[in-house]
Each structure stands twice: as structure tokens, then as C-alpha cells.
Symmetry: C2
Subunit: 212 residues, 2 copies
């Protein structure tokens, strides 16, 4: 399917195009040119075409791209046409917020399990927070639950000092994809993938730009 290695930036932009195309589709637009899409996404028009060219030919010369076709194709490329089943590990403030984060649901990302090292202590509190009873499992059961529920992505929302341990458990349970919110560098074996979401790095960036 894919050959030349695709820049990560391209994948990020594909995600952005996808959001924009959804808006266009909602507005009832049928066709869009690379120039229009580029303007909407604040990128260069040639960039749009190059990004798509990594994966095939999706447009019609002299016309542009059919909005819903292109959206469909991009989702297929990103793998966001399929449903991804995820587990959250660490049900503190951030974990429980993500647990009921609506924008995960819109996309095909489903959280199908929540773990903590001390479910008993927090299960009542979290259920109250979220206004509904929540099942929180002990981290010890991770491996079997992952298998039972076909979990492919693990989300780490523990404190930084536990992140590596949790990552090890996820790897052990053969969860190949990890989304890490804990501000800590994580090591995983070849074949496993970690993506970080570091708020504070972004904040540092912002602070820097405000200081210059």
C-alpha cells in the first residue's frame, strides 16, 4: 500500500484536512480545490497536493477533489475509518476527564476500559464526578482485560514517576500503541509506538514566544 516513508508533518496535516473536509461536507460543498482547502487549513496549496500524492491520485485535473470521496480516502489512510479500542491507565483528574471526553467519541476512538492501582479508593469519587457508575479495574488485570476487550491503544494518565512502569505493563500485554500524557520520556521496544501529549512543553513554547 505505502512505499516512501511519509513525513510525520504530512500525517498531522492529513488529520487537519480531515477536520476541514468534515466542515465542508456539513456545509454541503461537493467539490474543493487544493487552493481552497489550503487556505482553510492555513497551508500551501502545493503542500496539500504533495501530501495527498504520497498515497495516490485523488483529484480530477481542471476540477478539484470531491469532498466526501477525499474525506473517505483520508480517513482510510489515517486508519480512522476503523474503530480503535483504548484503555486509560490512571484515573486521576486528567484520566477521568478524558474518559468522558466527547471528541473521542465523534471520531472512532472508544475507551473500553479504565485502570488504576487503587480502584477502590477512587471508584466512588470518579463515578460521582462523571455522574454515572464507572467500572475501574485494578492494573493487575490489565493483561487479561486487554485480551478480552481487544484493546489496541493504551492511554497513560498517571503521575510521571509511574509512566514507565505502566508502559512496561502495556507492552507486556502487547498493546502496540501508547498515548502518553505523563510528562516523562518513555522507552518501548521496537515495534511499539509511543506518542506524547505534553501540555507543559507546549506551554513552555508559548511562554518562550511571549518572552522573545
Amino acid at each position: 500500500m505505502k512505499f516512501s516513508k511519509v513525513p510525520e508533518a504530512t500525517i498531522r496535516r492529513l488529520s487537519r484536512y480531515s477536520r476541514c473536509l468534515e466542515q465542508l461536507q456539513a456545509k454541503g460543498e461537493k467539490v474543493v480545490s487544493s487552493a481552497q482547502l489550503a487556505t482553510k487549513c492555513a497551508v500551501n496549496a502545493a503542500q496539500v497536493r504533495k501530501d495527498l500524492a504520497y498515497f495516490g491520485e485523488f483529484g480530477i485535473r481542471g476540477v478539484g477533489y470531491y469532498v466526501s470521496e477525499l474525506l473517505f480516502d483520508i480517513k482510510r489512510i489515517l486508519g480512522s475509518d476503523k474503530e480503535w479500542r483504548m484503555a486509560i491507565v490512571g484515573m486521576g483528574n486528567l484520566g477521568s476527564a478524558l474518559f468522558s471526553y466527547k471528541d473521542f467519541l465523534k471520531q472512532n476512538y472508544k475507551i473500553v476500559a479504565a485502570f488504576d492501582i487503587d480502584p477502590h479508593r477512587i471508584i466512588g469519587r470518579v463515578s460521582e464526578k462523571l455522574g454515572k457508575p464507572v467500572e475501574i479495574l485494578h492494573s493487575d488485570t490489565l493483561r487479561e482485560v486487554v485480551r478480552e476487550r481487544n484493546i489496541e491503544i493504551g492511554i497513560i494518565t498517571t503521575p510521571a514517576n509511574q509512566a514507565q512502569k505502566v508502559a512496561d505493563q502495556l507492552v507486556e500485554a502487547d498493546v502496540r500503541g501508547i498515548l502518553n500524557f505523563a510528562p516523562a520520556q518513555i522507552e518501548v521496544p521496537e515495534g511499539y509506538i509511543v506518542k506524547n501529549v505534553f501540555f507543559t512543553t507546549v506551554l513552555d513554547n508559548l511562554a518562550y514566544l511571549l518572552s522573545v
Copy 2:
């Protein structure tokens, strides 16, 4: 010294070096070489030196860098030596989670105000969630509160369709830095800065890599 434009990637790495140096400092290490720091941060040693070279000379040839000095300097460069006062707009699940996110406190980022369009409806619920009474202000008061409390950074945690409106209000209140969690592209005038934190983009990225 601080003239050539610095790549954003460099600033992101500086943030990472800073985290690693804190760990080294905690361990009582006095001196570190670019090679050691590079290994710890999973980057190239020359990269470390080049990144620092944008801002001056911090090392001693034949020796390395003094950990606490370098940490101090990097924090000064990033502007994270000073205290940054922030406001959150949108006190849903994510907003209230960030409100009590402990890693903000460690760094010099302080959330000093929380806004919502309907504080009355949610103030009780959020206070319960967080286990302490929380002051949530009506978005209408944003401008004056920003002035009174010297707020320099605004965090947007509203639904996507309200993000631009909130950004406009922040700009209107002269908040120059915006950290946007709503999955929407935001426009601000010259001189204002937006940084996005899009979980779902990162998830799309992860899903892509798992699909390849």
C-alpha cells in the same frame, strides 16, 4: 546571540532538556556532557550543543555543563523562570481537570481564574468534582478580570464551535498567549500567539502508524 530565528523544534527540545536536568539535579549530579544529556533525551549530541549555541556558550570544553547552571539558563531562555498567570475558559470535563492539574503547579504556571458561559449551572458540580469550592466567573467579566489579575495566557477548553469566539474575547482582553485544546483552527491578529493541543491529531497519528 539571540538573533537568528530559533527553530521551534529547538525550543521543544530545550523543554525536554530542562526536564532531564531536573532529574539529574535531583540525583545530585553536578556535571553533564552533551553526550550524556543527549542519550537521556534520545537526541543527537551535536544537536544538544547546536540547540544551546543559539543562545550562548554554556559549557566548559573538556568538562561539560554544570547541571544547575544549565538548568537555570534554559529556564531563563524559555521564560519559565517567571510566573505565568493563566485563565481557563470552558469548565467542562477537560477544563476542570486542567484546573487542578498538578504538573502545572510544579512549573511556574498558575491558573488564577476560571470562566464559563453558565457558571451557575456548573459551579456546584465542579466544586464537588474537585472537592473544594471553586470560583467560576461568567465569560462576560473576562476583560476586567484579566486586567485585575494580570492574566497573560488563556486556555481554551470549550467545545470546538465556541473556540473562535472565546479567542476573540481573549484577544479583546489583550491576552497575548492562547493555549487551545478545542479541536478547531483559530485565527488571531499579528502579535498574538496560539498553540494547539489536539489529542485527536496525535491519536490519528498513532492510529496511522499502527495501521502501516
